[in-house]
Subunit: 261 residues, 2 copies
Amino acid sequence: MASSSSVRLLLLIVLVTIPASLSHTILQIPPNRHASEDRKLRADDNLFCDSWRFSVETNDAGTWDSIPSRCVGFVQDYMTGSRYASDSAAVANFSLAFGQAVKLGGDGKDAWVFDIDETLLSNLPYYEAHGFGSVTFDEEAFDEWVDLAEAPAIPASLNLYKGLQRLGFKIFLLTGRSEFQRNATVKNLLYSGYSDWERLLLRGPSDKGTLATEYKSKKRAELITEGYRLHGSSGDQWSDLSGFAVARRSFKLPNPMYYIA
Amino acid sequence: MASSSSVRLLLLIVLVTIPASLSHTILQIPPNRHASEDRKLRADDNLFCDSWRFSVETNDAGTWDSIPSRCVGFVQDYMTGSRYASDSAAVANFSLAFGQAVKLGGDGKDAWVFDIDETLLSNLPYYEAHGFGSVTFDEEAFDEWVDLAEAPAIPASLNLYKGLQRLGFKIFLLTGRSEFQRNATVKNLLYSGYSDWERLLLRGPSDKGTLATEYKSKKRAELITEGYRLHGSSGDQWSDLSGFAVARRSFKLPNPMYYIA
């Protein structure tokens, strides 16, 4: 093939003209490096940031305000590359497998609780324009983004949502968003493909100032009092999944961009 | 430099003699690939296995018996390369930072609970010889390994252990190992650098057949009854950290090799 020969000729010329130190670099790939054609992250930053992410996703890190400045490129790569989509899909697969194994009561009381932001909907377009969690949270700017009602669905979560509905689960949406955002939230959910939830629970005036863990536990407890069996619960924050009145199984979705207590 | 010139000449010869398709491979590194000089893992296996690990470490995967066969190379790389050491160190750092922030009572009742296997001691030499968690657990072979008392300390955990002792915490070791392994366990702990723990709690005859979550919760509850304040708890299994009578903060260490309910 003529084109292959010319590529080889070009390589030959390139290697003759570049310094020996550089040609050495081309053939020596450092171990455990996440190579990227667009960004050359330093291997030690990558290792540090991946371990930071481990600590965040297991909740070992506890409360944190913003991602480490040296991890902005790492989080950007993680969120916009294939890893975030792959991790989200793995969680959805384990969730659906569990849902399929549940023996439903057939009385309409089998329930699954979903958080919304970074669980059903992705605010990545907003965070792409706001430093991927490296800058202080701007509530006003985020509320404007919510009002646009343009957050796309996380594909694996939409698939899980519909799968659970087909199995017969009642879906409860339990979000830290406020009542004044109800219309925009409903509009966004429908726009991105979600429908037929049983109830959408938002923060009312009396929930103001309550920590997410407490607010969400209280709401789950009310559902249990109503006779619902909370088989599964999906959320990107540990405050979606811990506290009291927890579901039989909790599913932690990835989110290395922000933390809610 | 004469040696650099000969390297370049060698490269030249190599590139002229290898087929064009292969020379193409050398220069095109796929994005998000964990390059390794020893093993060439396929990028899709790597992505799959990293997401499987996410699900395991967050407990989304629930109960599992052995690592997926396609992930043996991935787990080997993770455990024997820099990632496991880095993740363990990150957890230890967050643990110590929390310990340093605790206001101790000064009455000798401030406590920290450690699991042993894959928390203080590493059984990696055993698992390296037994497929890194890809083969069914062989209790007899593992007990023989425990009797050798040669498991090395996880360096970051040893550092944390000593740091917490200096701060004044009482250390409780709470393990799934059995009473008949007490001597070997003490010998191994001392050999690898651990000393001066307050108490070593092993499974007695009455704990046989109890799930780890239940057994460990019961033991923690007894410590609380004795007046101890459980500030922190470190373990590689969610069964070390969940259930009841949990510590104020729980720290999940990495372990993609095995699962204990």
